[in-house]
Symmetry: C2
Subunit: 362 residues, 2 copies
């Protein structure tokens, strides 16, 4: 088992435990950071069916009293209604400030249970057991929790750090291919932000594979650890999302526009993959990006089975980007690759984005 | 206008502005701490009817664009439904992270709008304009925001500091007498915790008055300032509610039990008033409290027109106290006056509370 200690300015440290077959040890891992107490275990029906028995038995063996809450899998559950149900469940089972939430699942479960933990009694402790690659390499660092509003995704939430994270990479075996690929896009991003080990593993695995999961399987613990370390490097000292953390948005401005314009039919990682290719192409045409970078990025992303371009028009993408309510004033910061493994943040007037989107389209 | 700077460990400082007739200057006061932006102005129908025009005009004059959200007054609005409506209102009006919430009202408006500010886009700035005495002297320091669940009051919330507070004491003129008295109970508490100026003003005003509000009127700015300074003294370095801040619970353990047992028919301040008398009486009988203290406390509280005892039985109060889900383990900390102006925190086994309640009953 590998451990990454997450130290973020002004927040309590916690450990991300990474390895295979860790779920049966969840109870003992958690008992290292929390005394026996009442545990609200939160999961979705789909992933919960695979792993709940193992985790709950392990928690009980370690002396925790467990109360189980499960809800239907999928983004459509990530709303005010499920949030309220979780809160009432916590209250009905007399969970107090000295008790614990343990969540097992992908991003939806993590975001929901994390937001409940952030706000129930103004904040109680929680443990993340991410079971999707994206949740392992992205959600496990940064403390972002959220739910969707009618008006848009992730518009309501809080920053709340877990007290422990358990990444058991064997759980990725039950993950649907498109969700696995979603996580791979994020891993490629960490490579492009400078993690050479990740790039090396990816390049060695992606050629001539029949199934990306099986090709990457021997390296998953290392990939997850390297990804978390890279993200941590950008998030540290910047937990409130203002400065260096912006590098993590590589591919995300265009990616979010693609997701939005497709009404979320295109999954996050697929959209980010296209976003990374597009910004590299536009960067080359603006003489910011070293020649050949776009080709290299595109080749890697294509080899991972992810898309490299979109049929959505630059005008539609521009309108989607404008409607993103997080946009601050009339300027936009874009993360642009200078070369493979090195990026820069550049500010543009919002109307310059239309031109950049046109340059990046293919 | 008096100013108290609220500096709490690890949080941004902000100023509480205290004076009379400040609402017409709200815009210029706020423009000192926030650039012109979109403002979501949140209030309730009752208090909003008195002051909205003045505040909104002042905000517009200072260059803010204002969007108004109002809801029915009263605790029954402090729920998930109103919270969700506020969030959707913010999104519909394209409030971003660089915009602002300004709330005007008593505790319910402050708690709701503050929780929305704490969680919309994971936290945006907000300004409090408290119009009840309790909100001025209590909610303006500490950053507590919350909503009620079906299962209990204030079970969901967050800590979120305002960027500015405007206490315009003339707004207390439209406050119902029982709500004004509610605030007075909290002020007496600050006196008992050691603020001699407050005690002096109260003692000089409460004798031979026909109307407590008019008797206290010339001193309201001073009382609010002194109360806030006293609260601040206990909250500083302890924003997460663990140590010294516990002194602020004087009268509140029994007070909460009274509120709960009466199903909230007895208002907060009235219950706290009885709680302070009860714990002083019990303290004397346990030889913790100086003889005569209970009589002095009771006399002051009675002179303010607040109740000093309850007809609810000690057994019912005990059961209500037990059902308080915030109770940590088998112990309870009680704040007990040693003498007028000095208190101590003592730990008791939870079952000793029944005896203490019996000793305190009258």
């Amino acid at each position: 088992m590998n451990k990454v200690t997450v130290k973020i300015n002004g927040e309590e440290d916690y450990i991300v435990n990474i390895g295979s077959d860790l779920l049966k040890d969840a109870g003992s891992i958690i008992s290292e950071v929390h005394a026996p107490c009442r545990v609200a275990y939160i999961t979705d029906f789909t992933v919960g069916a695979h792993y709940t028995a193992t985790v709950v038995d392990s928690l009980k063996d370690a002396g925790f009293e467990v109360f189980i809450f499960a809800f239907p899998a999928g983004e459509s559950s990530k709303n005010m209604e499920t949030y309220e149900k979780i809160l009432e469940f916590l209250a009905d089972n007399e969970i107090t400030r000295s008790d614990l939430i343990v969540e097992l699942g992908g991003g939806v479960v993590g975001d929901l249970a994390g937001f409940a933990a952030a706000t129930y009694m103004r904040g109680i402790d929680y443990v993340q057991i991410p079971t999707s690659l994206l949740a392992m390499v992205d959600s496990s660092v940064g403390g972002k929790t959220s739910i969707d509003l009618e008006s848009g995704k992730n518009l309501c939430g809080a920053f709340h750090q877990p007290i422990s994270v358990i990444c058991s990479v064997d759980t990725l075996e039950t993950l649907e291919k498109k969700y696995f690929d979603d996580g791979v896009a994020e891993i490629i991003k960490y490579g492009m932000l400078g993690n050479e080990k990740i790039l090396k593993i990816l390049h060695s695995c992606v050629e001539n594979h029949d199934n990306l999961y099986f090709a990457l399987k021997p390296f998953l613990s290392e990939i997850v650890e390297e990804s978390i370390s890279t993200k941590l490097n950008f998030v540290k000292s910047d937990v409130y999302d203002n400065g260096k953390r912006q590098f993590l948005n590589l591919g995300h401005t265009i990616g979010h526009a693609i997701e939005h314009a497709s009404r979320y039919a295109i999954p996050h990682g697929h959209a980010v993959a296209v976003g990374m290719c597009s910004i590299a192409r536009a960067g080359e045409k603006m003489n910011i990006t070293e020649e050949g970078t776009a080709n290299n990025v595109t080749a890697l992303i294509r080899a991972c089975g992810l898309p490299t371009s979109t049929i959505i028009s630059p005008v539609d993408l521009y309108n989607s980007a404008l409607s993103d309510k997080k946009r601050r004033g009339g300027e936009i910061s874009l993360v642009i690759p200078v070369k493979f493994g090195e990026c820069e943040i550049k500010k543009f007037k919002i109307d310059e984005l239309k031109n950049i989107l046109t340059l990046g389209v293919k």
